[in-house]
């Protein structure tokens, strides 16, 4: 269970405060909706630890995580784009998600290859992100997020701009993860995304 | 690529570290042109080691001034036994350090144009400062300092700075001995002919003179010997000046704190033998300190013979040098 308790973030020089307070049961997906600039991305960044909250608490399984560094939190983020390191090939991009120094054993390497095959990217390991289409890049990003095996997935407009075929693949992957018990936070203004993935909704 | 180079480089440098283990070692501080592979250093080392059964080590410092500097800084803990490469300009400062001992040599063997009875410094070569000119650019060089000073301004010369170079200081003393108090005025007269005042002899000779920038450069009367004997060309000659030429003497001395004084003295003694001196004329391009007789290369007969050797006692030089340099600065900057 993810609990956001009275989390506040000071925005801009005028000291405007955003406040967040909600919870997500484990294994469910909460969709956050609201117009542009309403703080969807800010909320996800706060949960990921990229931004420091002014006050409030974030609890994961009853343990406060708001003071932990990003790499110590049980979360993985997938953004609309720029998820990959452009100068590293697909295999390395995924591998760094499994071990931050790319020290992989044979089973982990096989897991990456198997994952690529499952997502229709067999043999793409040595490719550079710049050579991939938007949909292919997003599949790589999601595959990395899944192989990282973190219990909390933060999705920030993950499907925007992708074609229907790619969306189908990504939906399948995400739903499979959810079925495995992964908790998700989805920030999206896309009706279809929310309908297919989310179990509950929260308006900003 | 580099990782493969480093072991090779270490292999090159390791022998240098083990040399210090030998029993009798004579440490000599000297300057690059003496110790260079083609200089007198290597031949002298071989000849001396053969007769002393010891090992002769050179430590090469940039110039005579640096030898003195190093000696001063190290004081009595210096590993040097002998310093070789000081000259009349640095002698007095070196003497005042009190770090040098008496050489105890008989100086009768010396063949210098002046009397030498110093009990600390032993000359090993000498030469005259002179203007060397390019015969292809200048057919009739001035025959006296006075003629040079009065020459039209389109005769360009290259000199060296007395603040940073030995020949530069030599010219300053030359002008002073010839003109005395009139020297600053003469310098002013000369100034429009000075194309460049370089930091060192090398800068002027290599960058300017050999590029044909000026037909005359302040150098040594022995310079043409090298060009004639080694380069096989008569193109560069020294101009003989009627007032006489200022003398430069290069000296060696024994270091008082040396543990090897007998060996150091025997080196100074060896220095005034033909086995040492025969390497001086063409390898150091200076006159030998003793009479070499027939062994003196024949090109030396073709060099100019100054009518007089101008020379001031080093102690006197030391006392007036700063004043002379300041007068020179005033004459040329105002």
């Amino acid at each position: 269970m993810l609990e956001i308790k009275d989390l506040a973030f000071e925005y801009g020089p005028d000291g405007h405060l955003w406040r967040f307070d909600f919870s997500v049961p484990a294994g469910e997906c909460l969709a956050i909706q609201g117009p542009s600039g309403s703080g969807k991305s800010t909320l996800l960044s706060l949960v990921a630890g990229f931004l420091p909250p002014a006050s409030g608490r974030i609890l994961w399984m009853d343990r406060p995580i708001q003071l932990l560094k990003p790499w110590q939190r049980p979360v993985t983020s997938v953004f609309q784009e720029h998820n990959l390191f452009e100068h590293l090939n697909v295999f390395t991009n995924i591998g760094l998600g499994i071990h931050p120094g790319l020290k992989l054993d044979e089973s982990q390497r096989q897991a990456i290859e198997a994952g690529l095959e499952r997502t229709g990217l067999a043999g793409f390991g040595p490719r550079m992100p710049g050579e991939l289409s938007g949909g292919q890049r997003q599949r790589v990003a999601l595959l990395r997020a899944i192989l990282r095996r973190q219990p909390l997935l933060l999705l920030d407009e993950p499907m925007t701009g992708l074609d229907t075929e790619t969306r189908k693949i990504l939906y399948a992957m995400l739903l499979e993860e959810k079925a495995r018990g992964i908790t998700m936070l989805l920030a999206s203004h896309d009706e279809e995304e929310r309908r297919i993935l989310a179990d509950s909704h929260w308006n900003l | 690529m580099f990782s493969r180079l480093i072991p090779a480089l270490l292999a090159v440098s390791l022998p240098a570290m083990s040399a210090a283990e030998e029993p009798a070692v004579l440490n000599v501080y000297t300057h690059p042109s003496f110790a260079a592979e083609w200089g007198p250093g290597p031949a002298v080392k071989e000849a001396f080691e053969e007769q002393c059964g010891c090992s002769l080590n050179y430590t090469v410092l940039d110039s005579g001034g640096d030898i003195l500097q190093r000696l001063r800084l190290e004081g009595s803990s210096t590993p040097a036994d002998v310093v070789l490469g000081l000259d009349t300009g640095t002698m007095e400062t070196a003497r005042q350090t009190g770090l040098l001992g008496r050489h105890g040599q008989s100086l009768e063997r010396l063949a210098l144009p002046v009397n030498w009875d110093d009990d600390t410094f032993v000359p090993y070569d000498w030469g005259y400062f002179a203007f060397v000119y390019d015969t292809e650019q200048l057919q009739e060089p001035p025959s006296s300092l006075e003629e040079l000073v009065n020459a039209p301004d389109d005769l360009k010369i290259i000199i060296q700075d007395p603040r940073t170079s030995t020949p530069g200081l030599g010219l300053l003393l030359w002008m002073h001995t010839v003109y005395g108090d009139e020297a600053p005025a003469k310098w002013q007269q000369l100034s429009n002919k000075i194309l460049a005042t370089t930091q060192s002899w090398s800068d002027g000779y290599f960058s300017l003179f050999m590029n044909g920038e000026a037909p005359m450069i302040l150098s040594y009367s022995t310079s043409p010997a090298y060009h004639m004997a080694i380069d096989k060309t008569d193109r560069y000659q020294a101009a003989r000046f009627n007032e006489g030429h200022y003398l430069q003497v290069e000296v060696a001395a024994l270091v008082e704190s040396s543990d090897n004084k007998p060996l150091a003295r025997s080196f100074l003694d060896f220095m005034l033998t033909a086995d040492f001196q025969r390497h001086i004329p063409l390898k150091n391009v200076m006159y030998p300190a003793i009479d070499l007789g027939d062994e003196l290369p024949s090109v030396f007969d073709k060099l100019i013979a100054p009518p007089e050797a101008l020379y001031m006692d080093p102690a006197k030089v030391a006392s007036i040098r700063r004043q002379l340099v300041n007068d020179w600065l005033d004459a040329l900057t105002n």
Binding site: G101, R127, S133 | L10, I194
Partner: protein
């Protein structure tokens, strides 16, 4: 909680801060101790008479004046050259020009100056042509004109390289806007180029100013006479000829004060001078240009190239006969090859050391939050430019003399000082690229736990490979051509390349010296060319890059 039980090596933030901070402090201490030991050796310091004399005042005046003029002229050339290079990326031989720009700075002064004289001197090629076209033009290299010409030769390429970096990092959207609006000429400059150059210009000016302020051999060879004396000459005179430690230390401190003050002014505004582009346009944007603009830019680059090439050509022509052994000339390679090995033995560690110090310094500068913490690493970058190596070396010698037993220690010191001297340049090259990672990448790296050593290995190193290679080339090359420091500590009769060069010069072996000069030039070219081949950031796989992508059937 975290999937990785073992933290990444060196991932504690202290690893980024403290090594650089400690190095900077050590350098400050080193300089203070160096100066201090000279002062102690000097005994009493009588400031009044030294500073009051008209000689001294005119020296300081001239030093400032020539440095100021050199800066103005170098920038006046560097600005249009950098703009032209930034605009016309398709200019034939652009890479060649960049390599040439790197060379002029690292050539040993005496070699470069002899090349300049062969072109612009009384008997030079340029002067000859000028006299044919413009008889009675009154051109004279010797004097202030020669000093300025040589300073422009050394510094304009450096300045242009830094400015080009700034221009190359103009954000693509701004360029696209300029392209769409059809901006050209004045308004392109005003709206696009100038805003990019403005922040780096004071830093470049300060760098060039410092280099010209401390110039020495150029001033003396081309200056004509004692009317053109710089502080550095006075320091040399005091230290090497008059053994007047007090005066030497006094002048050195004054130099430190003037240049340090200048840097302080620059640093206070947090200005950058970085040589390498930290962001490249994916594709050059076509800009509006009138035909004559392209023509004049081409002409400018052509003249600039000729200006850089001609002296190098003179060095080549002069040195070639010695390196081309015929039957009757003894081979000089027996001396050149071992001397090269000895030089590399000093220059490679010095170069590697300078890169390491620069990286740690930059890491500390980026990490430092408190004001004084930020000052120390900045000082590391500029102090070595200002402190005369002679003074630092002598001070260190006095400091270390009881321990300074053997030659190896002397050589270690030489490598150390050479490395330190190279740090300011290396730092300028690495600063931009090291801070170029975008915020998004950094966030992701944070989340994935790519920290410490891993972050360096997987994020920085791929981006920094090329800049580090260029920085290493500068570090090695600067040490390779250095003569001043090694001469101070003495060598066991076995010369390094610059020492060999000076030995040859000192004993009439002028043709061989020219050969050694050319050999050094060749070696420097080799270092720069081979290190410039280090692959940069990849955006495409090398093998399959040209083939069209096989789209999977269900995509």
């Amino acid at each position: 909680m975290s999937p990785h039980t073992k933290a990444a090596p060196f991932s504690h933030p202290g690893w980024q801060l403290w090594p650089g901070l400690l190095l900077g402090t050590a350098l400050l201490l080193l300089v203070a101790l160096g100066l201090g030991s000279i002062l102690r050796e000097a005994g009493e310091l009588d400031i009044g008479p030294s500073l009051a004399g008209s000689y001294f005042q005119s020296v300081v005046g001239f030093t400032l004046w020539q440095a100021l003029l050199s800066v103005v002229l170098s920038l006046a050339l560097a600005l249009p050259v950098a703009t032209a290079l930034a605009r016309y990326t398709g200019f034939p031989g652009r890479t060649l020009i960049l390599r040439l720009m790197e060379l002029s700075l690292v050539l040993p002064t005496i070699v470069a100056v002899s090349g300049i004289i062969a072109v612009f001197g009384r008997q030079g090629w340029f002067t000859g042509l000028l006299n044919i076209w413009l008889p009675g033009n009154g051109w004279n290299l010797y004097g202030l004109s020669g000093i300025l010409l040589a300073h422009v030769f050394f510094n304009a390429p450096l300045a242009a390289r830094i400015l080009l970096q700034a221009l190359d990092s103009i954000p693509p959207p701004r360029m696209r806007t300029a392209s769409q609006l059809g901006l050209g000429g004045w308004w392109l400059w005003r709206a696009v180029h100038w805003p990019a150059i403005k922040p780096v210009l004071p830093g470049v000016a300060a760098l060039v100013f410092t280099l010209c302020f401390t110039s020495f051999a150029i001033i003396m060879t081309l200056g004509g006479g004692p009317g053109t004396t710089t502080l550095e000459v006075a320091i040399y005179q005091a230290l090497r000829f008059e053994f007047d430690f007090a005066r030497a230390a006094l002048f050195a401190m004054l130099q430190l004060l003037i240049c340090g003050g200048l840097w302080w002014l620059v640093f206070r505004k947090h200005l950058d001078t970085a040589v390498l582009p930290n962001r490249r346009l994916s594709r050059p944007v076509p800009l509006f240009a009138r035909p004559w603009q392209g023509f004049s830019a081409g002409l400018l680059l052509l003249i600039f190239t000729a200006f850089l090439v001609a002296p190098l050509l003179a060095i080549i022509l002069r040195g070639l006969p010695a390196l081309w052994p015929t039957a009757d000339t003894p081979s000089i390679y027996q001396q050149l090859l071992p001397a090269t090995a000895r030089s590399l033995l000093i220059a490679i560690p010095a170069g590697l050391g300078s890169v390491l110090v620069a990286l740690l310094t930059l890491a500390a500068a980026n990490r430092a939050r408190r004001r004084w913490f930020a000052i120390v690493p900045t000082v590391t970058g500029y102090l070595p430019l200002i402190v005369p190596p002679l003074v630092l070396g002598t001070g260190l010698f006095i400091l270390l003399r009881p321990q300074l037993g053997n030659t190896m220690q002397g050589w270690f010191l030489v490598a150390l000082i050479n490395g330190l001297m190279a740090v300011p340049f290396v730092l300028q090259i690495l600063r931009g690229p090291l801070t170029s990672l975008d915020a998004g990448s950094l966030q992701q790296a944070d989340q994935l736990g790519i920290l410490g050593w891993y972050r360096w290995r997987w994020l920085y190193w791929p981006h920094l490979r090329r800049p580090v290679a260029l920085a290493l080339a500068y570090g090695v090359a600067l040490s390779l051509g250095d003569f001043g420091v090694i001469a101070l500590f003495g060598s066991p009769g076995k010369p390094t390349l610059p020492v060999l060069l000076y030995q040859q010069l000192g004993s009439y072996r002028l043709a061989e010296a020219a050969g050694t000069g050319l050999w050094l030039l060749g070696l420097l070219v080799l270092i720069f060319v081979s290190l410039s081949r280090v692959p940069g950031v990849k955006s495409r796989t090398t093998s399959a890059a040209s083939q069209p992508l096989p789209e999977p059937e269900h995509a």
